[in-house]
């Protein structure tokens, strides 16, 4: 039954690679359902393999698939009622930019500005089709 574990790992790895390539290009699919289907398949194959043999390949497939399923099923975000909304005035703030210069909200006075909040540095790959911050 080791072949089943190998198949599970191959399915998991191929879909994970495709998923992260899309994420790297900030081009995630409209819905993760197809990927989740493959990860579920990989999970089942891996569990079947684990149940029938002592090899560790199936365990790797189970671990990878379970992690990705968990991440994609729990991806929703939530802000509190205090979240800024249309019509609100932005709060006064100061912060340091990456070149260690102090930036204050008063620097924005009289300017129209797009402010983007994001997570970690993988999000720095901004689509060039709206300027990618170069302008």
């Amino acid at each position: 039954m080791e072949y089943m574990g190998i198949a599970a790992l191959v399915v998991a790895l191929i879909t994970v690679i495709i998923w992260f390539r899309k994420a790297w290009k900030v081009d995630p699919p409209d819905t993760p359902r197809v990927f989740q289907g493959f990860w579920f398949l990989s999970l089942l194959l891996g569990l079947t393999s684990l149940n029938a043999s002592t090899g560790s390949i199936g365990a790797w497939a189970v671990d990878i698939s379970a992690l990705l399923l968990m991440l994609t099923f729990t991806g929703s975000q939530k802000v509190g009622s205090e979240g800024i909304d249309v019509g609100d005035t932005i709060p006064s703030f100061t912060a340091f930019s990456d070149d260690k210069k102090l930036f204050t909200s008063s620097d924005l006075a009289g300017s129209r500005v797009l402010i983007k909040f994001f997570r970690v540095h993988c999000d720095l790959i901004v689509s060039p089709s709206y300027g990618d911050g170069k302008s």
Partner: protein, 96 residues
């Protein structure tokens, strides 16, 4: 264009160099700005990276000359981003 992220200044510099970005990029690893704007993710999946007290909900804001938010786009899911076409349309609608 201003970006606010939980990256440190050093991490931002790395990404800026890799991708040639020229926006004003603010480092907010302690989420001071993100909390000020009320944009911290409060869902259970608010993974806490080492040294980071949380993560923001991915949000784009258009702010006018008076400092008032005239448009907001907020991702429902962590792997969603504001589509360039949506931002372009909002720019045209709000500022033309």
């Amino acid at each position: 264009m201003i970006t606010v992220s939980t990256d440190t200044a050093a991490e931002i510099r790395l990404g800026r160099g890799m991708h040639g970005l020229q926006a004003t990029m603010l480092a907010d690893p302690k989420l001071k700005l993100i909390n000020l704007f009320g944009l911290k993710n409060k869902n259970l999946n608010n993974f806490r990276l080492p040294g980071r007290p949380g993560l923001p909900v991915l949000t784009s804001l258009l702010v006018n000359e008076s400092g008032i938010v005239v448009w907001k786009d907020q991702a429902s899911d962590y792997d969603r981003r504001s589509e360039p076409g949506i931002i372009k349309a909002a720019l045209t609608k709000c500022f033309s």
